[in-house]
């Protein structure tokens, strides 16, 4: 049985592996943001009806006109969307074309939201049942996609855009040209 002596150290080795895994999970917590797997792929085809007064609806064809654009997924009932509104206005002032998909919203609420927080959008499509949101692989509001001039998604920003996120988004837009 002496040749089995090494077996007695096996539990300690197995325990070491478990501790290593656990320590990794503790000190290098994985990025738990659920990102879209659609980055690098063409926008799915969609056509969404207008929702904001005097503003056209949105379709995937609008993103194939040669110029990179931002696609902002937002909703009037979403609090972080209010927080990111100033940054979107900054981007608009920098000449960035921004379109939006409004999730589960009503014309009245959208009107109030834009009146209160500013209106950076060229077009807004209404996605009442989140169908386009799901097709984009978006897991919440707000999210922002950078789409190049051929309709390919080149980047995704999950959560509200903070002031220090703006340069990165401008760079992604410049790279997409």
């Amino acid at each position: 049985m002496t040749n089995r002596r090494w077996l007695m150290w096996l539990p300690l080795c197995a325990f070491g592996v478990v501790v290593a895994v656990v320590a990794w999970g503790l000190w290098r917590p994985a990025d738990r943001t659920v990102r879209s797997a659609m980055v690098g792929k063409p926008l799915p085809d969609f056509t969404l009806a207008p929702i904001a007064p005097g503003k056209p609806g949105l379709s995937s064809a609008d993103f194939r006109r040669g110029q990179p654009r931002l696609l902002n997924v937002f909703a009037s009932w979403c609090v972080p969307c209010i927080a990111e509104a100033p940054q979107l206005m900054t981007l608009k002032a920098a000449g960035v074309p921004i379109d939006a998909i409004a999730i589960k919203d009503t014309p009245q609420d959208i009107g109030n939201f834009l009146h209160r927080n500013g209106d950076p959008y060229a077009r807004i499509g209404s996605d009442v049942h989140s169908r386009v949101q799901l097709a984009l692989g978006s897991s919440g509001v707000p999210e922002t996609f950078v789409v190049d001039g051929r309709g390919i998604i080149v980047a995704q920003h999950v959560g509200d855009i903070r002031a220090d996120d703006v340069p990165g988004i401008l760079r992604a837009l410049a790279d997409a040209k």
């Binding site: 007695m8 150290w9 300690l12 325990f15 478990v18 501790v19 990794w24 000190w27 290098r28």
Partner: protein
């Protein structure tokens, strides 16, 4: 003042734990006259002080003393008193204090009552127990002081998560912790026995009641937790393979294996090294479980703020205790005399198979639970959930059930295959009959549920077989315990298989007065009205439910709105029938004026928890039976001496 008294008691207890480790080491190094008695006395006082600290914490919660930070963060003066009471451990700091309290009390009980073990082994055991306690005292005092004051005191507290405001859940943590602590005692015995190289039947008999007790509490905890998820989460599921559930299942699997290998060691003096290792593994699983829940590494950042300090502290304790014990195991167990070898076809053989299969299932659950972290370390985000666990662990669990049916019908030492097959005639017949019946009458239900139903029938018949041809009044209590526990597994398995196979679901939008039908039930929503509770308001549906020609009864599912903190919960309404449960949930009101309604008929689902209760009762009977026998043996010996 109460808070300061509690803190003082905690510091004193910690000091005594340190003294206990020091004294015990001294006694082990060189024999000190009366040393063992001193160690015992210190252990008892330490346990009493920890309990005093816990009582102090409960007192400040009951008094809603908002100047204590923990009370302000987790309680509210308007809360019902039961939840103020349970609120004492419904949070991180309080639950850790509860843990050391039970740990201290268990140590005191070992010190007071354990008479069979060699004195040196007992002293080493108490040293290990105090070392564990010392780590947790340090954790409490330095990283999570439950008695910290808040300046200035807020006007009122923040409240307790409404989902946790439930009488069953209030007693869920103490139950689980009692189980975990029982395993810590088993761990301490294992360390003690490794220190003195005294592995044998005496050690197994000393450890057995703690393992059995721990196992009973873990069984109760898992059963109750499962029922809570079933009625509280509102979708009729009773097991989700969620990391927190796995954290409670893994110690149970290890304890189940340990409990059977302890029997082999106590009866036949075999599986020595294996039993010692299992005792260490079982406690390590309960520490890993605590770590999983407390550190939040496997749950969403959105649910709990991950606190690396706490996680690091528990991880450090884990490495220290378990790593230390396993290193001791590696170094020492080779010098422990080899236990007896067995014939493969014997009761021992079946128990080895039981241990093998339980350990494999434990490994699968462990790997499946942690695999997302491993994959994440390599940059892949993935999920491991019910489909994996069902596919990987399901078939092995069913093989285990077959072993369970055959094992108790085999003789110790050596048995004959033909004879065992003869004894299994009735169980195999029952399994074939039930399987065929389910196949013919039950429609397409899938392989696992079908096998589950057949095996449950076979196991039910096999598990009562050891009592046949016996005088029932004279059958020993621990035999009754085994029979009832095994029967409980059959009952629970039948419930799982039947409810998985034949649940019927209706998800509807109904107007007031419209009839809805599911599985022979007719349901009418008669109205929805607002109701007010102590700290919530709700919309309550009034459902009139008729089954066949029976008289109708009323179910009142609610959508509850809590204000402290703001939360909505769906309170399901459940009617229990002899053959299952009718489960109703009220949803939202649509803009067409119709209400969402979720209805389920879950045949025999109650058997799952009834089985869990039977398993626990069986364990308790077995515990009492073994202790009673030892007590009688002791008395007979005393009489013989006299």
């Amino acid at each position: 003042m109460t808070a300061e008294t509690g803190l003082a008691a905690l510091w004193l207890a910690a000091a005594l734990a340190a003294l206990q480790v020091f004294l015990a080491t001294l006694v082990l190094r060189r024999s000190v006259a009366g040393g063992a008695t001193a160690v015992r006395a210190v252990a008892i006082v330490q346990g009493a002080l920890a309990a005093a600290a816990m009582v102090a914490l409960i007192a400040v919660f009951l008094a809603s003393d908002m100047s204590v930070a923990l009370v302000a963060a987790n309680s509210h003066s308007m809360k019902p008193w039961l939840y103020k009471f349970a609120g004492a451990w419904g949070n991180h700091e309080g639950s850790m204090l509860l843990w050391v309290t039970i740990l201290g009390l268990a140590g005191a009980a070992v010190a007071r009552f354990e008479q069979r073990l060699a004195e040196r082994t007992l002293v080493a055991t108490l040293a290990a127990q105090a070392a564990i306690a010392l780590g947790f005292y340090a954790f409490l005092l330095f990283a999570s002081n439950p008695f910290a004051r808040l300046q200035p005191a807020p006007a009122d507290g923040a409240g307790l998560n409404p989902l946790l405001q439930d009488p069953g859940l209030a007693f869920h943590p103490p139950t689980l912790y009692a189980g975990y602590v029982g395993l810590s005692v088993a761990f301490s015995f294992a360390v003690g026995t490794l220190v003195t190289r005294d592995v044998g039947p005496a050690f197994a008999r000393a450890m057995r009641p703690w393992v059995l007790g721990a196992w009973v509490f873990l069984t109760l905890g898992i059963t109750a937790g499962s029922y809570w998820a079933y009625y509280e989460l509102g979708w009729g599921g009773w097991w989700f393979w969620d990391p927190v559930e796995n954290a409670s299942l893994m110690p149970w699997l290890a304890a189940t294996a340990l409990l059977h290998s302890v029997t082999v060691l106590a009866t036949r003096d075999g599986l020595r090294a294996w039993t010692v290792m299992l005792a260490v593994v079982a406690f390590s699983m309960s520490m890993i479980g605590t770590f999983l829940v407390r550190s939040g590494i496997l749950t969403s950042v959105h649910a709990f703020a991950v606190d690396p300090t706490r996680g690091t502290f528990i991880l450090a304790l884990l490495v220290l205790y378990i790593g230390g014990a396993l290193a001791l195991f590696g170094a020492r167990v080779g010098t422990v005399r080899q236990g007896k070898l067995f014939e493969p076809f014997s009761r021992e053989g079946s128990l080895v198979a039981n241990n093998l299969l339980l350990t494999v299932i434990l490994g699968i659950v462990l790997i499946g639970t942690f695999y997302p972290i491993v994959a994440g370390a390599f940059g892949t985000q993935l999920s491991v959930g019910p489909p994996f666990f069902d596919k990987a662990a399901g078939p092995i669990a069913l093989i285990l059930v077959a072993v369970m049916a055959a094992g108790p019908l085999m003789r110790w030492r050596r048995d004959d295959a033909g004879e065992v097959l003869g004894r299994l005639f009735a169980p195999i017949g029952a399994a074939l009959f039930a399987g065929a019946g389910a196949f013919v009458l039950g429609g397409p239900i899938g392989v696992l549920p079908l096998a589950g139903i057949a095996l449950a029938a076979g196991l039910a018949v096999a598990s009562v077989a050891p009592l046949t041809k016996r005088n029932l009044a004279r059958a020993p209590l621990h035999l009754w315990g085994m029979v009832i526990a095994h029967l409980g597994v059959a009952v629970a398995l039948a419930g799982m298989a039947a409810s998985t196979a034949w649940t019927q679901e209706a998800l509807l939008a109904v107007g007031v007065g419209d009839p809805a039908r599911v599985a022979g039930f007719t349901v009418r929503l008669e109205g929805v009205r607002p109701v007010v509770g102590q700290n919530w308001t709700a919309l309550e549906g009034r459902l009139s439910v008729t089954r066949g020609d029976a008289a109708p009864y009323v179910l009142r599912p609610q959508v509850r709105y809590f204000t402290q903190p703001v939360t909505t919960t769906n309170e399901s309404a459940i009617a229990t029938h002899v053959d299952g449960q009718f489960y109703a949930v009220l949803g939202a009101l649509g803009d067409d004026g119709r209400w969402q309604l979720r209805l389920w008929w879950k045949p025999f689902v109650t058997l799952i928890w009834a089985g869990g209760a039977l398993i626990a009762i069986g364990g308790a009977l077995s515990l009492v039976g073994h202790q009673y026998r030892l007590f009688r043996q002791g008395r007979r010996r005393a009489e013989g001496d006299a």
